[in-house]
Amino acid sequence: MNDNISVINAVDSNKIKGKDKGNVCILAVESSCDETSAAVVSDGKNVLSNVIASQIAIHKEYGGVVPEIASRKHIECINPVIRQALDEAEVTLDDITAVCVTYGPGLVGSLLVGTCAAKAIAYVKNIPLVGVHHIGGHISANYIEHPDLKPPYMCLVVSGGHTNIVEVKDYGVYNIIGRTRDDAAGEAFDKVARTIGLGYPGGPKIDKLAKEGNKDAIAFPRGHIEGAPYDFSFSGIKSAVLNYVNSCNMKNEPYDRADVAASFQEAVIDVLVGRTIMAAKEYGYTKVAMSGGVACNSALREAMKRSCENEGFNLYYPSPVLCTDNAAMIGVAGYHEYMRGVRHGLDLNAVANLSF
């Protein structure tokens, strides 16, 4: 693998009590964007390995993920990553009950690499193949560290590609209550970061800089969708930041980047938290979960915690490494699909805009 690809095994081996293969041992593969990941998960809860090869250093140079480069890197990484996941879990393919793979949504070229490799392995080993929805994976990341969390509950899925409020009725049974009408929240973070010269990836950089700024300094708009109280729109906020920066530049007035970052972040968090809490109340849930890359954002975590405490709700979210794309979450989601009898054929295709 290339020097610019960093590989980790995101499992705290001290926490694993032996490598218990369990009754159902899943090999999971995830390659929907710019992380190639493979994991071994037993009985839907014990993560025996979770190897993640990140290409972020490569895409940084281009200011965002370049799909063709991402696809090529997945081809380089896929076998070493799967091999490492099996080795670290101390299993062989003969121990695997089923292969689970993300088949959408995501970048189609990226998805195809994981999907084709996973299908070929399932075919040779003559074991079931289960295609998994990426968002179902993000939601299921919560079960890994919170064995007490059981459906039903309300979940906010928020990342660079997705922004959804999802009613989790049962394992693998979802009802989407709110969605973004334009950009995903994480996309807005990336674009605003570029506007104020922070570079890619924008989420962690804005999070850090915002700590030095005043979140009430600039009043950026909160996007409302008429007649769809749980939906989101982030393109308006993004444009407002761009306009603000441009008008400062035209007037030759310096602006405080930390204030812009803090005020922008506050506007996004305000709608994410407000609508999630409103949905939980309206649908009668007292359990709220969060997942996806933006769920790493420290201010979002704080704001959601405060609101949940005020309402007397229990809040769940994964550790940062399980918020970003990883195969362990696909293994957990895939386990529940497998138990429900979901099976896919050798003709499984990658679907960029897979519906939920």
Binding site: A120, Y123, V124, D347
Partner: protein, 239 residues
């Protein structure tokens, strides 16, 4: 020697099983369905028709490129998964050589042309001598005009047989330039065929030219657009 050979580099998806000098099973489809849906079921079919299991294979041969980036990756990822699971090596074969081998025995120069968009073709040129294809123009992505300039220089009046999916796109222009010296493969020989890949792979296997599945990478012959543009920008700054 039991080899599974596949080619998903172009419009055709094709898979064959070769056992000791015999193409025991071979399938090709050119039906506009995505290779990710057709390729693995097709592999399953030819393996069954050959009455073997994947574990019986000694190696998997794959058309390494050039070709459609997505098509190449569907083939590469499939082969990587197969070989990881059966723990056997990969035999990469040039897509261009595979196409040229469709015309084995030809007395003329054989010139594969694959439509590479942007008014270019992926191409090479071969001469069939002593039962072997010898390369006289290495694999490259060039404008069709440039290819014909090269061929005029090479062939000194010899005839050239074209093969590949670039034919329907460039036939007229080629005929204009080369006149009666240009010949075109008929439809049953024009497209990628896994049987050609299999036979070429068997020859490579005899010479030990096999690699591990983890090492195998497609031969794209082109950088991604983002990388090309980045290089151009850096080049301009450098000037």
């Amino acid at each position: 020697m039991k080899i599974l050979a596949i080619d998903s580099s172009g419009l055709t998806a094709t898979a064959a099983v070769y056992i000791d000098g015999v193409i025991v099973a071979c399938q090709s489809v050119n039906n506009k369905k995505t290779h990710s849906q057709t390729l693995l079921p097709m592999i399953n079919d030819v393996i069954e028709q050959a009455d073997i299991t994947p574990d019986d294979l000694d190696a998997v041969a794959v058309a390494e490129g050039p070709g459609s980036f997505t098509g190449l990756r569907i083939g590469a990822a499939t082969v990587k998964g197969l070989c990881l699971a059966i723990d056997k090596p990969v035999i990469p074969v040039s897509t261009l050589k595979g196409l040229a081998y469709n015309m084995a025995g030809s007395k003329s120069i054989v010139c594969p042309i694959m439509d590479a968009r942007r008014r270019q073709v992926y191409t090479a040129a071969y001469i069939y001598e002593d039962g072997h294809l010898n390369e006289c123009l290495s694999g490259r992505a060039v404008a069709i005009e440039e290819l014909l300039d090269k061929l005029e220089g090479l062939s000194c009046g010899e005839s050239v047989t074209f093969v590949g999916d670039g034919i329907p796109v460039h036939r007229e222009y080629i005929s204009e330039r080369l006149g009666e010296r240009a010949h075109f493969a008929p439809p049953h020989l024009m497209y990628q065929n896994s049987a050609s890949i299999a036979v070429l792979a068997a020859g490579k296997a005899e010479q030990g030219l096999m690699i591990s599945a983890d090492e195998f990478e497609p031969v794209y012959l082109r950088l991604s657009q983002a990388e090309r543009e980045k290089l151009e920008r850096e080049h301009k700054v450098g000037q």
